[in-house]
């Protein structure tokens, strides 16, 4: 009788454990969507970089390089991309929209060209109509410092220099706009 009861108890424990494990696996596994993804850097100071402007891009004007720490006090959107990346082409309209909307509200979009040929990158920028600063990460040191795994990947940096979000895949202007609004509200209050 006792053996039967122990067996039933063991069976129940096994079923409960299985359900809990399945729940955890599904919740964490399915949660990795194409949106905001976890990064060990989130909440910490964003790695600083000084990168040369991509030659021939219009946005840089007199600025021949972009230094992240010089943009302290502004919300910075660091977007890693390459000319051969299809999703980067898809997200371009959204990035342009964000730039147009926020460029005079203390927000800077910085495009970081990564693992790309300079000529192809220039062609991409010319076709895409991007007017924000675009820099070249020729040795991928900045991408490695940010933990970039694939492109496009976009990092949102708060005015105090903290990295607050990592977006894997194409950005969505509306969703990211809401995050930027929240950061700007926080910075103003």
């Amino acid at each position: 009788m006792t053996t039967r009861r122990t067996g039933t108890l063991l069976g129940m424990v096994a079923v409960v454990a299985l359900v809990v494990v399945a729940c955890l696996l599904l919740a964490t596994g399915l949660g990795r969507g194409n949106a905001v993804a976890a990064s060990p850097l989130v909440g910490h100071r964003a790695p600083d970089f000084t990168l040369p402007a991509l030659p021939g891009t219009v946005a840089t004007g007199s600025e021949r390089q972009v230094r992240l720490s010089a943009l302290r006090g502004q919300v910075v959107l660091v977007n890693f991309w390459a000319s051969w990346c299809t999703e980067c082409r898809d997200e371009q309209a959204d990035l342009n929209r964000l730039w147009t909307r926020y460029r005079d509200a203390r927000v800077v979009v910085v495009g970081v060209d990564f693992q790309d040929a300079a000529g192809d990158a220039r062609g991409f920028v010319a076709r895409s109509g991007a007017t924000y600063p675009v820099v070249a990460d020729r040795r991928s040191q900045t991408a490695l410092a940010y933990g970039v795994r694939g492109i496009p990947e976009t990092y949102l940096v708060a005015p105090d220099g903290r990295l607050v979000d990592r977006v894997v895949g194409a950005v969505d202007a509306d969703r990211l706009g809401r995050r930027i609004d929240a950061l700007l509200d926080g910075a103003r209050s």
Partner: protein, 352 residues
Amino acid sequence: MTVRRRTGPLLVLLATLTALAALAVVGVRPGPAPTRAAQAYRIAAGLRCPVCQDLSVADSPAPLARQMRHRITADLAAGRSAALIRARFVSAYGPSVLMSPTGTGVGTVVRALPVVVPGAGLVVGGVLLRRWLSGRRAAPPARAPAPARRPVSRPRQAAPRGPRWRRRAVVLAAALAAAVGVSTALVGAVQPRSASSTVAAAPGQTVRGAPDGQAALAAAVRRVRRHPRDVAAHLALARAYASLGQQRLAAIEYLAVARVDPGNAEASTALAMMAFVARAPAEAKRIVDRVLRAHPGYPEALYTRGLVQLMGLRHLSAGRADLHAYLRVAPFGAHRRTVETLLALSEKGPPR
């Protein structure tokens, strides 16, 4: 006999001590210093290529892995230790970049699994074996047919096992299905809405799937109707009107924002600019002064006040100061070219 009995263990002890001493000498003696390439290889072999399926950085042909190898070599050349190099990769990519789990957090669980799982298996197996053996012992002998002593009710052990196990399988399947359902619901509740679902919900600007300005305007109007006190909705509608050149309607929406949120910087600055265009520079300055008191350094407001002072009120030095401040706070701002031109012109006198 006694001597032999004593020397035997002594000899074994001596041999063991000698072996241990020899091992210690071999282990402690430093080998030849590894070359930098060997060091780099060892570090790379301990790191997982972030874009590959279970390949180390040392073995992966991916460009990212190649650049990680370059960085390892450069860091070693700069005198950084292997631990520091590893830590830098972990800080960017997380502990999953290490080929072997760490001894902290989830890593502890992973390390414990090879011990825990077989242990649990042994326990379960032991319990099952015990039950099986006790069942066999309790079962009636196979060669003891006793038709006359047939039991009235069938003993439990002899009950057909099929239905019971089937019932358990059904319960298990139902539990798993429930888990799937609950998890999906939880994930759905936690995850932000997908891009396609935000088209109707937040159509402030031209949105994905609705690039046309008119469509964006229609969506913004719908949003304002649904949420008449939502500042973001009114701002989106004002921007939609402004982008279509309907300044008067845009002004109405900015006024609506100012009613709901009197301190809103964007709406107030836009209204100040409208006042300036309508040849009311003093009113424009009054509005934008209030904005800058609440949000010093707001680029659009600095630009607007600079214009108002320089071109409307002819306050040359104050206007120039605002425009210079704009250039400082908006290094990539939309009005940089205009501001630079205005500043160049103002050196010769107030621009007309």
